[in-house]
């Protein structure tokens, strides 16, 4: 059963997708001026300071870094989805680590690759996006990516 917030995000995404398709653009293409946010939970902060683990992933359960396309729908909807996720897991939703997509795309890793975000709608959050990562690269590689993302992020706490 999906929450009202998830349903509203889905309806808004249908409208957004229709408008984008009418302009012959893919709704999954994230524009440079879009604001992206990583949901923050209890263990991601030291006081109000962002920790690098906000951008670390468990390779077994994730293939990329999950983000919300915050500038495409009201913030309250994303916050509600975050709080609902936290309530199911006995952790506290704290807010978002935010950055714009242009900053993300400006990151060049030491293997010459660049980070990018692509829309990846889910039933809980139709404005979900993913930063795909190369598989099986070792903890130091993912740590490197995480520190780069931390550097461009600003925490917006609730």
């Amino acid at each position: 059963m999906f929450s009202l917030s998830s349903i509203e995000l889905g309806v808004r995404f249908v409208g957004f997708a229709a408008a984008e398709l009418a302009r012959l653009r893919s709704p999954l293409n994230v524009k440079n001026n879009e604001t992206l946010g990583r949901e923050l939970f209890s263990g991601h902060l030291k006081g109000k300071r962002l920790r690098v683990n906000a951008f670390l992933i468990n390779e077994i359960s994730e293939s990329g870094i999950s983000l919300d396309r915050l500038s495409l729908a009201p913030r309250r909807l994303f916050s509600a989805v975050g709080r609902e996720a936290a309530a199911k897991r006995s952790v506290n939703f704290k807010g978002f680590a935010e950055f714009d997509c242009a900053s993300l795309r400006a990151i060049e890793l030491d293997d010459g690759t660049r980070l990018d975000a692509v829309g990846d709608p889910t039933f809980e959050n139709a404005f979900h996006a993913d930063v795909a990562l190369m598989p099986d690269r070792g903890d130091d590689y993912y740590l490197f990516v995480a520190t780069e993302l931390k550097d461009i992020s600003q925490p917006h706490l609730e």
Partner: protein
């Protein structure tokens, strides 16, 4: 606080009439000494609570080195912190259950915590500057920062290390490293 100034241009003259050959032999020996000798020297310096101030070390006009020693405010607070609040961050790690990040995180491994704590304690004062954090794969992360430098370590449940050290714009990283080698890397880079 005492201060010893070593002036490299005039160092040779202090060897008297044999200055040229003796100084050359001395410096050559120091430069060719094995890595262990340098590390032992570094350990001794740390034990003496020595701070190095090297003016314009990047330039070609390397004129001198100032060594300051004694009790300094820079090292005292971390020592006190080590004694008075040893476990708040570590307790927080233990309190995080499975899926603590909302995306399928594994609960932090007690074994990883034990390895990370042992490593931090082995570093002494430097270790007290490292803050632990949870890694979604069950490992323990360690983070420390000082001006111009950042060090991030990941300690797995089996006690292996991955690391990333930033020195300004330069990034050094590695994986699957043993604790002893990790300590040497930190001594060199951080």
């Amino acid at each position: 606080m005492g201060v010893t100034r070593i002036s490299w241009p005039s160092a040779a003259q202090s060897f008297g009439s044999y200055s040229g050959s003796v100084a050359a032999a001395f410096l050559a020996g120091a430069l060719c000494a094995p890595v262990e000798a340098h590390e032992e020297y570094a350990r001794v310096l740390r034990r003496l609570d020595v701070r190095w101030s090297v003016p314009r070390a990047y330039g070609s006009s390397f004129q001198g080195t100032v060594i300051s020693y004694g009790m300094t405010p820079a090292t005292t607070p971390p020592v006190i912190a080590l004694l008075e609040e040893p476990s708040a961050d570590w307790l927080e790690l233990r309190a995080l259950g499975a899926d603590w990040d909302g995306k399928g995180a594994v609960a932090v491994s007690p074994s990883a915590i034990a390895h990370a704590k042992a490593f931090v304690n082995s570093l002494g004062v430097v270790g007290s500057t490292f803050e632990p954090f949870a890694h979604p794969n069950g490992s323990v992360g360690l983070e420390a920062q000082k001006p111009g430098k950042e060090a991030y370590l990941i300690v797995t449940p089996s006690g292996r290390f991955s690391y990333l050290v930033r020195l300004g714009d330069a990034v050094h990283r590695g994986k699957d490293v043993q604790a002893a080698l990790m300590a040497r890397v930190l001594a060199l880079l951080y």
